[in-house]
């Protein structure tokens, strides 16, 4: 097809003209693109760069190492044990089931945990490492590491787990840590972002929770580069946090171990306090439990067993438990009477086994009566009638005030859970709380530590220490935080008449050192170890039958308080054996053994015991399940 020249030239003209037009509009569009580039990249650059940095930098927390807890001699009570875990990254594993099968052949995997982990893995992004096994042995981890090439996506990890090497011994004092629960997460006063971290543990009871702030430390941060789906690309920098403060307690782990072992088998509690500093040397409560079981979540069966045990292992009876102090209260009544100047040391009261007050008959524990008793003998023989008389003379307000002065009805601020305040009743208290007038009978009951009076073993130990020293002894549990010695509070004189105190001490000495004293059978031989004490039997319900004839729950509580050495008091001890029967029989021997253990720092020589008892004591000492301080193993554990 041939075209004529005019047609061609005209067409060329059109194409050129329109082509020019097209070219110009294309250039205009290019100009617009360039302008847009300039706007985005130059004018708005700062704003976008900021957004870009936010896009890629993510701040993650580094959990601090929790502070360690030691006893007064530097022996570890709570440590952070390195534990080996295995985590699996779904994306890297490829065939997860196959990898898990291979892993199962190598190391023991908890099927329950594995199932949970695999379910979790399906819900999370494929690159998130999921822990599939905890607490593996080093040998197992080594096996996994050696077989690394056959286990894609599997990586062994090192973590820290709270461990309580003393197990049951410090269950109530140190307590335990556990996973953060919903309520703790919503607490207003603790907004630490660490709580949000998975696997983060906080104190639940005891020192672990009361000193949580110091123990926890502060979180470190690391800046990491992540992509839009959250995968970590690399670490850009880190700021280490401060690990938690190390805490040294006043407790002596050897003595604590002894106390727990000595109380074993009973539902009992005992407190050993330093009469000079107020240091709590031992705070025993039995039965106890293994706090290690709580760290990774206790099994339902174990927890039910603890809850259903009628000896109530969970509460700390030495601190939380409040009991009528029984006859151990008599020192207070006597002091109040002396202070009120309503009695002289020599004046006597005739005990014929009971006394009639406003138409009611109040019995002495000895139905045949004690005859004429003075103050020292009233303590030695624990004559109730003498104190009924003192109560009428001194009045409840004086008695209550004296109780308070000696530490009863007082809240001691030590870092333990639910520290009980107890009760020292007054007329006003009864009006307010019982909506009834104070009766004279109430005073009589209170004078022998029954009725409304309630105190904890801790308070009883404090009371005894105060009587022994005449000073305001205040209990102390924390010796130092991060090496910084904590102040010893108190120590000032109580302002009591020294002659009165001397009388009381003499009476207490008579209880455990003079034939006929209620605690004479639990005496200590050797002048430098002699103890002064007081038995107590607090009634559980009214009854006139013998304790051995009723079921356990209805028997009386056995109490004993004492201090030693008599000449130069260093320790005060209080013991309660729940439903143990009489204090002289059930509690005093325990207190005596604890005193000797504390004074000798080890099992005492048999020469400290009365000759007739030595064979039995030797047997008992042999049967005690004590921890070997060198190996940490409990004797008899193998059996």
């Amino acid at each position: 097809m041939k075209r004529d020249a005019r047609d061609t030239a005209q067409s060329k003209q059109i194409i050129s003209r329109r082509g020019m037009l097209l070219g110009v509009s294309q250039l205009a569009f290019v100009g617009a693109l360039g302008a847009r580039m300039q706007y985005l990249q130059v004018n708005q650059s700062d704003q976008f760069r900021l957004l870009a940095d936010e896009n890629r930098i993510n701040i993650r927390l580094i959990p601090p190492a929790r502070g360690l807890i030691y006893d007064r001699n530097g022996i570890a009570l709570a440590t952070n044990k390195p534990v080996y875990r295995i985590s699996l990254v779904r994306e890297d594993a490829g065939d997860v089931d196959k990898v898990v099968q291979r892993l199962k052949a190598l190391v023991p995997l908890d099927p329950e945990q594995l199932e949970r982990a695999l379910a979790l893995m399906k819900r999370r992004s494929p690159f998130v490492p999921i822990t599939i096994a905890n607490d593996l042995k080093w040998e197992d981890i080594a096996k996994v590491a050696v077989n690394g090439p056959a286990l894609p996506g599997v990586s062994p990890e090192l973590g820290l787990r709270r461990s309580y090497p003393m197990a049951d011994d410090f269950a109530h004092i140190v307590g335990y840590v556990g996973a953060v629960n919903e309520a703790e997460l919503n607490r207003v006063d603790d907004r630490d972002p660490l709580l949000q971290m998975p696997h983060f543990k906080i104190g639940k009871i005891g020192v672990e929770t009361k000193l949580e702030k110091a123990l926890r430390g502060t979180a470190g941060t690391k800046r990491i580069e992540v992509n839009s789906i959250g995968r970590v690309m690399r670490e850009l920098g880190r700021k280490e946090g401060d690990s938690g403060a190390n805490i040294q307690l006043t407790v002596d782990s050897g003595l604590q171990n002894y106390v727990q072992a000595r109380l074993a088998g009973e539902s009992a509690a005992a407190v050993v306090i330093d009469t000079v500093t107020g240091d709590l040397l031992a705070v025993g409560s039995t039965p106890a439990f293994d706090p290690n079981k709580f760290v990774n979540g206790i099994s339902q069966a174990d927890y039910s067993a603890l809850l259903e045990n009628k000896y109530r292992p969970l509460p700390n009876k030495a601190i939380q438990g409040i009991y009528p102090p029984g006859s151990t209260f008599k020192m207070i009544t006597a002091l109040a009477a002396l202070q009120a100047d309503v009695v002289t040391p020599q004046s006597t009261v005739k005990c014929k086994g009971h006394v009639e007050v406003s138409g009611r008959r109040f019995h002495c524990w000895k139905r045949s009566g004690h005859g004429n008793v003075n103050l020292i003998n009233s303590l030695k023989k624990s004559c109730d009638v003498y104190y009924y008389e003192m109560a009428q003379r001194a009045g409840i307000e004086n008695i209550s005030a004296m109780a308070k002065r000696l530490g009863l009805g007082t809240h001691f601020d030590i870092p333990m859970s639910s520290v009980a305040k107890g009760l020292t009743p007054t007329k006003a208290w009864k009006r307010k709380n019982r909506d009834a007038d104070w009766l004279i009978g109430d005073s009589l009951n209170a004078s022998i530590g029954q009725g409304f009076v309630l105190s904890s073993p801790l308070q009883q130990a404090v009371m005894t220490a105060r009587i022994a020293t005449g000073k305001e002894v205040i209990p102390r549990l924390v010796k130092s935080i991060n090496g910084q010695e904590q102040p010893i509070e108190g120590g000032a004189s109580l302002g009591l008449n020294e002659n009165h105190l001397r009388l009381i001490r003499k009476g207490m000495f008579a209880v455990t050192n003079v034939s006929g004293g209620t605690g004479y059978r639990s005496r200590i031989l050797g002048d430098q170890y002699r103890m002064a004490g007081k038995t107590g039997t607090s009634q559980v319900g009214n009854k006139v039958v013998r304790n051995s004839d009723v079921e356990w729950e209805k028997r009386d509580h056995a109490l004993f308080v004492c201090y030693a050495p008599f000449d130069n008091p260093r320790i005060a001890v209080s013991v309660i054996v729940e439903h143990g029967g009489g204090g002289s029989k059930a509690a005093a021997p325990i207190a005596r053994d604890i005193v000797l253990q504390a004074l000798f720092g080890k099992l005492p020589p048999l020469s400290a015991y009365p000759k007739a008892d030595r064979a039995r004591i030797k047997r008992e000492q042999k049967n005690l399940k004590l921890r070997d301080p060198a190996t940490g193993k409990t004797v008899g554990d193998q059996a």
Partner: protein
């Protein structure tokens, strides 16, 4: 015998052809492709795999094809136009029946040795067949309704097939590319005015009928338009692409963060970082200067083509060169507009830079045609 064949003896022969190639355009194309290699290397985190190596191989193959096409006289290709158009329509139909599905769209045919995207081929053959049509058409008939209707149908057939895949981006490119050839060929302004008015009406109709049984676009296409109009409304959802790509661009600043120092694309904040959104990596790592330089390179290619086309006395050659230039222009203009938030996100690659086989091969073949037209241009003076 056409005007071109009439002047055949002035056309260079043998090795002379190589010298008379438009070397400026070849160098510019290589430079743009080179930038593409660098960017793909960076996006892969400093690695030749998985993208740079295959891209270089395709570039080499494409260059070979370009030279081959350039050596063959342009009138041979003009005679092949209708055949090429027929083949691409058949291939588009083939996609409908034998295509592989990828990300919800059927766009590819697996030929065994390579995966072919017939819609790319359709762009080139559409330019050729329209240029050939107007080459043979009497100038006086150009604006007569019947003779306007024929090229419109020629354009609409492949466009409809591509739209059905669905591939809105390519459909727009085909429609606009075809329209540009018609405009250059001298079709009356009135037709274009009418079409523009009709398009405006259609757009309003598209939105009027949204949500009814009569709606024209797919829901995801509506959403893309919504997102484009207000990307901040849903920055982590549908507006994610646009917002992230603007952040990447903006964070580049004047000179950029430096080669391999970009964070946004490499850290997966950006979707399709090696294909449609590769410009963001360039803009982030080399900043405004890098981005404007690439724009400059494209513009120079367009300008050289326009000069070449205006000097070419042959109507087919001239229209093909303009058409190829328009194809390149539409690619980068749409891609950059989309990345910079000036247009909705439609799947259009950045020419020669984005990772992808079909588009690079077809574009280099198209420039082979442009070179052939340039080499075999009539020389009036002799």
């Amino acid at each position: 015998m056409s005007y071109l064949e009439h002047n055949v003896k002035t056309v260079p022969v043998g090795p002379q052809k190589i010298l008379s190639l438009n070397w400026a355009v070849i160098i510019l194309l290589s430079a743009v492709s080179g930038i593409g290699f660098l960017m793909l290397y960076s996006v892969a985190g400093g690695s030749m795999t998985p993208w740079v190596e295959p891209q270089i191989k395709r570039f080499a193959l494409g260059m070979g094809l370009m030279f081959f096409v350039a050596m063959v006289p342009i009138w041979f290709w003009r005679n092949m136009s209708v055949l090429a158009y027929g083949v691409s329509v058949i291939l588009l139909l083939g996609v409908e029946f034998f295509g592989t599905t990828n990300m919800g769209a059927k766009r590819w045919i697996d030929l065994g040795f390579m995966v072919l995207q017939p819609s790319e081929l359709a762009k080139l053959s559409l330019i050729m067949v329209l240029a050939a049509y107007y080459d043979g058409l009497d100038l006086k008939k150009t604006s007569r309704p019947l003779w306007v209707l024929i090229p419109v149908l020629i354009i609409l057939l492949p466009t409809a097939l591509v739209l059905k895949q669905p591939d809105l981006g390519t459909a727009i490119l085909l429609l606009t590319g075809g329209g540009i050839i018609m405009f250059l060929a001298g079709v009356s302004w009135y037709y274009f005015a009418a079409v523009i008015a009709a398009v405006a009406g259609a757009i309003s109709a598209v939105f009027q009928f949204r949500g009814t049984a009569w709606q024209f676009l797919k829901d995801y296409q509506y959403r893309r338009i919504d997102t484009f109009l207000n990307p901040e409304s849903d920055p982590l959802g549908a507006g994610y692409h646009i917002t992230q790509s603007k952040i990447a661009l903006g964070s580049g600043g004047w000179t950029g963060r430096g080669f391999m120092q970009g964070t946004q694309a490499r850290l997966n904040f950006l979707p399709e970082k090696h294909t449609d959104f590769i410009f963001t990596t360039l803009a982030e790592e080399f900043g405004f200067l890098g981005a404007i330089s690439l724009l400059g390179l494209y513009t120079l290619i367009i300008l050289f083509c326009i000069f070449s086309a205006m000097k070419n006395a042959d109507r087919f050659s001239s229209l093909v060169i303009f058409g190829v230039a328009a194809m390149l222009f539409l690619y980068f203009a749409v891609n950059m507009s989309m990345v910079m938030g000036l247009a909705p996100v439609v799947g259009v690659p950045l020419p020669l830079v984005s990772y992808g086989g079909s588009s690079m091969l077809v574009l280099l073949i198209a420039f082979g045609l442009m070179q052939s037209a340039h080499v075999h241009r009539p020389h009036r003076t002799r």
